[in-house]
């Protein structure tokens, strides 16, 4: 390009030093052309299959398994170095205790006791959250009610309510369900409501254009449109519920007679079976991982990811 200015066609103007008076430089006039589009040739195929390594790297489950394996290895190394099975049993010892617990101590039954209570509380809370947020989006009073209640109760730790719950409902499942509902309801309602308010005006208008109103409007338009936020609320609620339940069982050993996972941990600590305590903790973690990576993952893949609402 630059050598154009030195071309012999315009010798007087641009050669040598720039002229004293600024000359308007015109862009060069170049010939036009048309071409037929050639085959891609040297670039090769338009699409190329990924290599095995690239494909493996794309499997999220595999990547996460690698992380888990690394953590387990680190654990094993640290515990081996500490060499104090009473305080910090190794990974292999914990796995052995877990296996033992599953085979002879009825660990699965205890886990199920906990899970069953958890699911009941969770279901009640989800239903209540849907109801509360539906009222909140359709009426202004409902909106004020929801924001007041969430700001009042969301910061209140569920476990702090347990003594009162036990006073009201006795030492049993009902007290546990009460605190679980409290643990799940507020974060879920908060997230759901935030999701509803972020639904685009155009989409709302499109829905009303169809003649949708009231509960049908909430169910067929708002809930799916707000689903990414609702799903986050469900996950947070699940985690809160799990913590609350284990803590409640640990501290109060509530569901009398047939204890849950928390009770299992508590009892074994009393008897200084530390490897079993670790086995109980691992069970809690495993169930959490399973729910997060299988149940919620499945829901996510079949809804918000499929719809292109999240990456």
């Amino acid at each position: 390009m630059t050598d154009l200015s030195y071309s012999p066609r315009s010798p007087g103007r641009t050669a040598g030093r720039p002229p004293a008076t600024a000359v308007r430089r015109e862009p060069p006039v170049r010939p036009e052309y048309e071409r037929a589009v050639a085959a891609t040739g040297p670039i090769g195929d338009v699409a190329r299959p990924l290599s095995l390594w690239e494909r493996l790297g794309n499997v999220a489950a595999l990547r996460r398994l690698v992380i888990l394996a690394a953590i387990a290895a680190l654990w094993q190394a640290l515990a081996g170095w500490q060499n104090n099975p009473l305080m910090f049993p190794t990974f292999t010892a914990t796995m052995a205790a877990l296996w033992d617990g599953i085979r002879s101590d009825g660990l699965p039954a205890m886990a199920w006791t906990s899970l069953a209570v958890l699911l009941k509380g969770y279901a009640v809370a989800v239903a209540a959250a849907v109801l509360l947020t539906a009222v909140a989006v359709t009426t202004r009073v409902g909106n004020d009610l929801l924001s007041t209640l969430t700001s009042m109760f969301n910061p209140l730790p569920a476990i702090a309510l347990l003594p009162i719950a036990m006073l009201w409902f006795g030492l049993g499942e009902v007290s546990l369900i009460f605190v679980l509902v409290h643990a799940v309801l507020w974060p879920l309602a908060l997230n759901t409501h935030a999701g509803f308010t972020s639904v685009s005006e155009t989409l709302r208008m499109a829905g009303r254009n169809y003649g949708l109103s009231g509960l049908r409007y909430v169910l067929t338009l708002l809930i799916p449109a707000a689903f990414p936020a609702i799903l986050t609320g469900l996950k947070v609620g699940w985690a809160f519920a799990w913590r609350t339940l284990i803590a409640a069982e640990l501290v109060f050993g509530v569901s009398s007679g047939k204890g849950g996972l928390g009770w299992f941990i508590f009892q074994n600590r009393n008897e200084l079976y530390i490897d079993k305590v670790f086995a109980g903790l691992v069970t809690v973690i495993l169930i959490g991982l399973l729910v997060e990576n299988v149940v919620f993952r499945w829901i996510e893949v079949h809804t918000v990811r499929k719809w292109g609402m999240v990456r």
């Binding site: 989409l203 208008m205 009303r208 254009n209 003649g211 338009l221 799916p224 292109g308």
Partner: protein, 286 residues
């Protein structure tokens, strides 16, 4: 929906000459945090069967507000909007909207489900019939291959086509289009305009179309309502059925375009001058 009953407004010449949509003396206002803004002031116009009626004006002339009012999303403070003689009070599936934004399609439904959704939601058709209609309309906008794809996989033009198919399938009394092609690139826009005209040739629906482009108005419309801004008032009503893409750049087309241009921007020159002086002065010129 029930076009055969005429509870009121039989005062016009005869049933065939009765306007489909009658907007009379409509003043629209909306509240912002600080102000009460008047979007349109006593706007009158009538739309007849099979017209391609354009609302044209610069931004701030209340054309989109007018369309929303016809859609039933906005209540007039003064005047009335009648469709088939019945007063418009709320949104309904007899007036289908095509919005400018691409997010008007629920992302959790495939193209086919999106087109079926209003048919099912309004109870206009059963599942089987809705599916048939949907596939037919999707074929009309050339998206048959994409019937089972979710909207996030489509380009902007394709999404607008789905929105048009969705509106078509409902066979509404009037189709409301709010700058439907404004967010598209120029080439796609032209293609979409051609397709819309071809569809109209086939089906002869009535459409109320909002745009700020004079060229688009002349090409797409059969009749144009020119609105002046702040607040929107009727400036003129013109015929332009003779113009299409073929006549763009012709002498007659240019003449009409220039006429509209002068109409819209003659006072804007004043506005531009006074804007620099003070707000009060600008208010005085309105």
């Amino acid at each position: 929906m029930n076009a055969l009953t005429f509870p009121q407004g039989i005062d016009t010449a005869g049933a065939s000459e009765r306007p489909l949509l009658d907007v009379s003396g409509v003043t629209l206002q909306y509240k912002t945090r600080r102000h009460l803004v008047t979007a349109t002031y006593r706007v009158d116009f009538q739309v007849f069967q099979a017209e391609r009626y354009i609302l044209l004006g610069p931004s701030g002339c209340g054309k989109s507000s007018l369309l929303k009012a016809v859609g039933g999303f906005l209540q007039p403070v003064e005047g009335a909007i009648r469709l088939n003689g019945r007063k418009v009070t709320r949104p309904g599936p007899d007036r289908m909207m095509v919005f400018q934004e691409f997010d008007q399609l629920p992302p959790w439904k495939t193209v086919k489900q999106n087109v079926m959704f209003p048919l099912l939601a309004s109870g206009k058709a059963g599942r089987r019939e809705a599916e048939e209609k949907a596939l037919d309309c999707i074929a009309r906008v050339n998206l048959t291959k994409f019937a089972d794809v979710h909207p996030h996989m489509l380009s902007g033009g394709m999404k607008q086509r789905v929105a048009i198919a969705r509106a078509m399938a409902m066979e509404p009394d009037i189709l409301l289009m709010d700058e439907p092609f404004a967010a598209l690139d120029a080439l796609t826009r032209r293609k979409m305009q051609e397709e819309l005209l071809a569809l109209w040739d086939d089906l002869r629906f009535t459409v109320l179309f909002v745009t700020h482009s004079i060229e688009e108005a002349l090409v797409v419309g059969s009749r144009i309502l020119v609105l002046s801004p702040h607040p929107g008032q009727v400036k003129a009503e013109l015929n332009c059925a003779v113009h299409d893409h073929g006549s763009v750049g012709g002498a007659e087309f240019q003449a009409l375009a220039n006429r509209i241009h002068t109409m819209l921007f003659a006072e804007d020159v004043e506005g531009a001058v006074t804007d620099g002086v003070s707000d009060a002065a600008a208010g005085g010129t309105r």
